[in-house]
């Protein structure tokens, strides 16, 4: 029984589709609240400070880092867990560009972005009141 099974498995394995290792990227998502009432900016946000023009301060409300393989997604609850931000790793190009899809279904919003350089960040901003706004910073990092 075993003698016949092993060759069959070996033959099948020869014709089985080759499974290539899926590339992975580390995706960092920061949920930031900026307001005209806050007095200072979080030092971690120095790189993104240009995005906060018109606000007197900003703070990181939530943060997530996760490794994602191509075609997979990560999700993060935002706005007091009332909305869901979903980031999908679509493709890794030969030149190292990373293609992502960022979506917030509750807002009926989605965007496809190509991050051409290392640690390139896209920020999705939405006004939450007359004095404040939420910023979602998405940065893919090659591992």
């Amino acid at each position: 029984m075993i003698e016949t099974f092993v060759p069959v498995v070996a033959v099948l394995s020869m014709y089985a589709p080759s499974v290539e290792a899926q590339p992975e990227v580390k995706i960092e998502v920061q949920v930031i609240e900026a307001s005209t009432k806050l007095k200072k900016f979080d030092p971690k946000l120095a790189k993104l400070k240009k995005a906060f023009r018109g606000f007197s301060g900003a703070t990181i409300v939530d943060e997530l880092q996760a490794s994602v393989s191509q075609g997979s997604s990560i999700s993060l609850e935002i706005l007091r867990k009332s909305r869901l931000l979903k980031v999908t790793f679509r493709e890794l190009a030969k030149d190292g560009s990373i293609k992502l899809k960022v979506a917030i279904d509750a807002f009926k919003f989605s965007a496809e972005t190509i991050h051409k350089k290392k640690n390139a960040t896209v920020v999705v901003a939405h006004e939450t009141s007359e004095t404040s706004a939420i910023f979602l910073a998405v940065t893919p990092k090659l591992e």
Partner: protein, 278 residues
């Protein structure tokens, strides 16, 4: 006084004497008439006239009193009453009031009639006094003020986008000069290359090699160069220009959102601003 004439009886004045006396008297009479006329004209006849009128009035009153005593009494009473009231009135106040009223009416009429002309004159006088630069400065300040008000009224998202746009424009302006200089110098070089004639190209190519290279090698190189030239000669204007790589680190391929999406990109940051339609 008279001269005795031998032909005339004594005591009788002769005709010639009378004529001479008459001539001398006429001058005196003329002077007397002129004096009398002057005296007559100098008399104040108004007093006389007033006296006459007063006399006529008195006579009339006497006549009327004789005719109807009751009417005359009432008339006298009314006249006295009127005269006493007229005397008691302070006519200076009335006169001042009338003058004031007249002045106001005149001013109102003048303002109504000359207001546009006065305004135009005032504007031109101010312009000429302050000069065109003051007017220009005033316009600039007005524009800035309007922009400030407009920006203050914008929602936060739009204010942020506006700031980012200004920042990008400043960055682009800073890079524009360098980019244009490099681009146009490259373009100019290519145009110059295309304008060169066949002889110029050959001479240019062999200019550096012809002297140190032996003749045989030179001939071979010449043949090779001619072959290369004809292969490369149809240099079409469609040849691609140097590719300028985008400096943006993130490219946004597609966005879906039921509302307004504002994309602001700078060299190191891409922000997608969402504003709900409601």
């Amino acid at each position: 006084m008279t001269k005795k004439d031998s032909n005339e009886p004594e005591g009788v004045v002769s005709t010639s004497q009378l004529a001479s006396q008459s001539a001398s008297m006429s001058l005196i009479l003329q002077r007397l008439r002129a004096d009398a006329r002057e005296q007559l004209e100098s008399v104040d006849w108004s007093l006389f006239q007033a006296e006459v009128e007063d006399r006529v009035e008195r006579e009339t009153e006497d006549y009327l009193r004789a005719k109807d005593p009751s009417w005359n009494t009432a008339s006298c009473f009314l006249r006295q009453e009127f005269e006493s009231q007229a005397e008691s009135i302070d006519w200076s106040l009335f006169q001042a009031e009338v003058e004031d009223r007249v002045e106001r009416d005149v001013n109102a009429t003048l303002e109504l009639e000359f207001e546009p002309d006065l305004a135009a004159w005032k504007h031109s006088a101010l312009s000429s006094r302050e000069g065109q630069w003051s007017a220009f400065t005033e316009q600039v300040i007005d524009a800035v003020h309007r922009d400030q008000i407009k920006n203050a009224r914008l929602p936060l998202a739009e204010q942020t986008v506006e700031y980012l746009r200004e920042d990008i424009e400043v960055s682009v302006d800073a890079q524009e000069a360098r980019f244009e200089r490099d681009f146009f110098s490259e373009l100019q070089n290519r145009i110059e290359d295309n304008r060169k004639t066949l002889g110029e190209r050959i001479l240019e190519f062999f200019g550096a090699f012809l002297r140190p290279v032996p003749l045989a090698w030179g001939s071979a190189a010449f043949a090779l160069a001619v072959a290369l030239f004809f292969v490369r000669a149809p240099l079409s204007p469609e040849e691609s220009l140097p590719v300028v790589e985008s400096e943006h680190r993130v490219l946004v391929e597609a966005v879906q959102f039921e509302g307004t999406v504002t994309l602001s990109q700078s060299e190191d940051l891409t922000v997608i601003w969402l504003a709900s339609a409601s």
